[in-house]
Assembly symmetry: C2
Homo-oligomer: 337 residues x 2
């Protein structure tokens, strides 16, 4: 592997000059720059990351702490990961994976060894055990999700409250006076991620404002639980029932139950779920969805991180950013009256 010294020699300049050509931190004459660039090209020189990190005290690597919960929303997590990695490259950074099975100690490790300049935490829980560690690190940390106490932390997440409000508002506009919200599956509830509460709160706020009724019903990955929830919903209204089921597994079961009772989506009953556009369109009756915009959340998380890294004022930052959600009405909801 060629080094900057080799490049310098080939270009007939000092090593430091090569460095300045690359960084642009000192003026370089056009002539010299051309020579150096030619040498770089010819030797296919690429700076050594280790040496660069050692000298500059910047690795240009961001640690991404992913949950190690097999089976739970794998696809959804991957969408974050993929977009985060891709966006990081746009800011000339790379992503190092830190799995949660190392526990909070993993954060201390990658920061302590100075493998990365900052951390993005995914799937932040209400009382996340990683937070005390995160607060003690002298590197920027960006959370995806909002803990109970976000003080002194930089958080970003989808605006679940707006999502809840929006769902209820639209269903009310379609003529529903009683709207049933099915909880996420127990495995998610047990994780104590507060987006659930924020979402439900949003539905309550809208219900109060519009004078409609919102029922909160338990979710589950077994047919029985949801079947029971559907029963409650049906007996609670004389009009056409409406369901909001943001959990993907649950919405699948819900749809089957409704159809087995002879209820046609978009005709006898409204259902708003959550799915990627492609998946939503793929359904027998295309599903109206609330888009929680994982890609946009991911992009912004990386952007915020890179801004923090550029500023590198290591003081205690604090901010909270909510990404607007978007409802797309397909065929599973009644038309607004």
């Amino acid at each position: 592997m060629p080094t900057s010294k080799d490049v310098a020699q080939a270009a007939g300049v000092a090593q430091s000059t090569v460095s300045y050509v690359l960084s642009g931190k000192r003026p370089i004459s056009e002539k010299t720059r051309k020579k150096v660039e030619a040498a770089i090209e010819q030797l296919t020189y690429q700076p050594n990351a280790g040496a660069r990190a050692l000298a500059s005290r910047k690795t240009r690597v961001i640690g991404l702490v992913i949950p190690f919960i097999p089976e739970l929303e794998m696809g959804s997590i991957m969408e974050f990961v993929s977009v985060i990695a891709s966006t990081a490259r746009q800011y000339d950074h790379d992503i190092l994976l830190v799995t949660d099975d190392e526990g909070a100690a993993g954060l201390g490790r990658v920061v302590g060894q100075q493998i990365c300049d900052g951390l993005i935490l995914m799937q932040v829980e209400d009382e996340d055990e990683r937070l005390p560690v995160a607060r003690g690190l002298n590197v920027p940390v960006v959370l995806i999700g909002i803990p109970r106490d976000p003080s002194g932390l930089v958080c970003i997440d989808a605006d679940f409250e707006m999502a809840g409000e929006h769902c209820v508002r639209d269903l009310a506009a379609a003529g529903h006076s009683v709207i049933s919200v099915i909880d996420w599956q127990p495995a998610v509830m047990d994780r104590h991620v507060n987006y659930v509460d924020r979402f439900l709160h949003g539905t309550d706020v809208a219900a109060e404002a519009l004078g409609v009724t919102v029922l909160h019903l338990p979710g589950g990955t077994d047919r029985a639980t949801i079947s029971e929830s559907v029963d409650k919903a049906l007996t609670s209204t004389t009009g056409k029932p409406a369901f909001i089921a943001p959990d993907r597994t649950i919405q699948d079961i819900l749809r089957r139950i409704l159809s087995s009772r002879g209820l046609t989506l978009g005709l006898d009953v409204s259902v708003i779920g959550s799915a990627s556009p492609t998946l939503a369109e793929l359904q027998p009756i295309p599903l109206s969805t609330i888009d929680l915009r994982p890609a946009e959340v991911s992009r912004r998380a990386v952007k915020i991180m890179c801004q923090l890294l550029d500023a590198d004022s290591h003081g205690p930052h604090e901010s909270l950013e909510l990404v607007p959600t978007v409802i797309t009405h397909r065929s599973s909801t009644l038309r607004p009256q």
Copy 2:
């Protein structure tokens, strides 16, 4: 951040001694070791990764090249990623994400900058454009998937041929004489991953050996295509039909179509699909599945990589490892007669 020099000072030894305590590459007296370890503990010293990489020429980081194909098998990819990251830690390595949207150039970058010691490529296609680049790199490369020409490369994948054979064998044993294999969805077929061919070949081999008929029918993410395939299957046998549908999206559609025709899984018709155990159990009729063992494939990929890194004989390695697949019969297949 404390350095090994600080530790040396605190322990009253030379910096090199600290280094030898850590690496164990030279004998150290019990007394000295204790002193150094105490100092390390007290200062919470952690070696600087950049400096270590610079001096040792090893980063202890493995690059993981993930496909940047939104929407396609996200969940499945995440299972690989998660297990790979976690396994890498067991070998005291970390994982750097390299997204495919950088193209093959991304490989050259991370290796050229010496950010990582080796590469694991996921979703390797038949004529993968990354392969020429990979062959030219002087670092170990492990492929998950098998290209058309695997010469000079280290590959690992699930044994799709065995999977196909096994599916047909079990369905034949259950009394089916005509077995329909539904292709993967077009998006997968278009990627020219040859596991499709290997799987289909396996079904043909078994069919020939057992004297049963195997039909290859087109898959699709639209109901119409699969409906048509089902028709063909039904008219091709006087006995009870059997389906093998390894694509997850397709098996969902298939099940709906069969049930809408009044066919009960495990009674009138056999279906073997592919899904995680939890998901398979969750179905109204628990799905018999062929497990392609992504976790095991991931673990072995990392293991192979770490062995190559340890050996670090940078000669041209070549190997091909196939991971046995496992069929689990639940309720969607007829009992063997």
